[in-house]
Symmetry: C2
Subunit: 198 residues, 2 copies
């Protein structure tokens, strides 16, 4: 019995890259940065590790690409909900959206990963997003840019923290996992209201 050569699936370069990145993302979120091994990524994508190298050049290439797409997704999720319809409802919803963005698809874990690996330069996208919010909804509401910036900094930090450790923190003190998120949301909302209506 001779060994059958594996039958191949031939994808377009774009499809191949996306397939691989999805596997990489899954691994990152499951096992953390340490789990991002070439062969495991390949395995998860149903492909040989040589293929991964063909498309990304090196393991670093994979990490870089992954970071970039994840940031892009994160920023997109945040901005998507910034429609300038009703500024009031918007401001109330900002927290909601932010929290979602950082909780969904491991946004917070991505950010943490970037911080831990010192990849903070990659964040020009984020900067653009922040500026968009400041000059968009905030300015419309007539908020002083300085103050608006501060609020955003706080809100994002909070969303980050909640997204990262919110669930386990709540469970740690014997509450349902969403407790942190809900409490933080309420806290943020009332804080925002107090800071803005004045």
């Amino acid at each position: 019995m001779s060994i059958e050569p594996a039958r191949r699936v031939r994808r377009s370069p774009e499809a191949a890259r996306e397939n691989i990145l999805q596997s990489a993302e899954r691994l990152l979120l499951e096992k953390g940065p340490q789990g991002l091994k070439l062969v495991e990524v390949a395995q998860g994508a149903g492909v040989s590790h040589a293929t991964v190298l063909h498309h990304f050049g090196s393991i670093d290439g994979v990490q870089t690409a992954l970071a970039e797409t994840m940031i892009r997704q994160l920023v997109a999720r945040v901005l998507e909900a910034e429609r300038p319809d009703d500024p009031q409802a918007q401001l109330e919803g900002v927290g909601q959206v932010l929290f979602d963005a950082f909780e969904t698809a491991g946004g917070a874990r991505l950010a943490a990963w970037l911080e831990l690996t010192g990849e903070t330069r990659r964040l020009t996208l984020v900067r653009a997003a922040v500026e968009e919010v400041i000059s968009g909804p905030m300015a419309q509401k007539g908020v002083d840019p300085e103050k608006a910036t501060n609020l955003i900094l706080v809100a994002v930090s909070l969303a980050m923290g909640v997204g990262l450790i919110g669930r386990s923190l709540a469970e740690l003190v014997g509450r349902p996992p969403e407790t942190t998120r809900e409490a933080a949301l309420a806290f943020l909302k009332s804080g925002l209201a107090a800071a803005l209506n004045r």
Copy 2:
């Protein structure tokens, strides 16, 4: 010319372990989880990598020990400042202390690392600390335990987020790095006041 054998420094097991752990911590904070290599840790500690293995058994042993001591330090830093002298000043200082704790010596990065690696079980220490705060200063102030818990969850999450990405976030939008921290502190303070004086 024959090679001189390196002269040895013989430490007590405890001192040796501590020396090594310090190097490991430095590396973790500098290069992230990926930078925690056996030889680098050894180099930073000024010993051979075999010595590290002798004391910790494996690289996992190093990680485990490191996580534990870092958590211990973090919790200690938080609780240290919980002296039941003046409940009022205390509550105001809580934010300060929390933020310090998560910012100093990479507390936030530690927590992030633990989360990313899925090492959340190691956190029994934290649980004890939270309970101590709830039943201590909070109860003294006559705060409903439920509400107290929520506030703590929020405060810790915020401290976490600020400690992790606060500085780079501020720099990202062109402010001095402490901006996030200061804004968050003010936000937290007024929020706490509003939630408690009622």
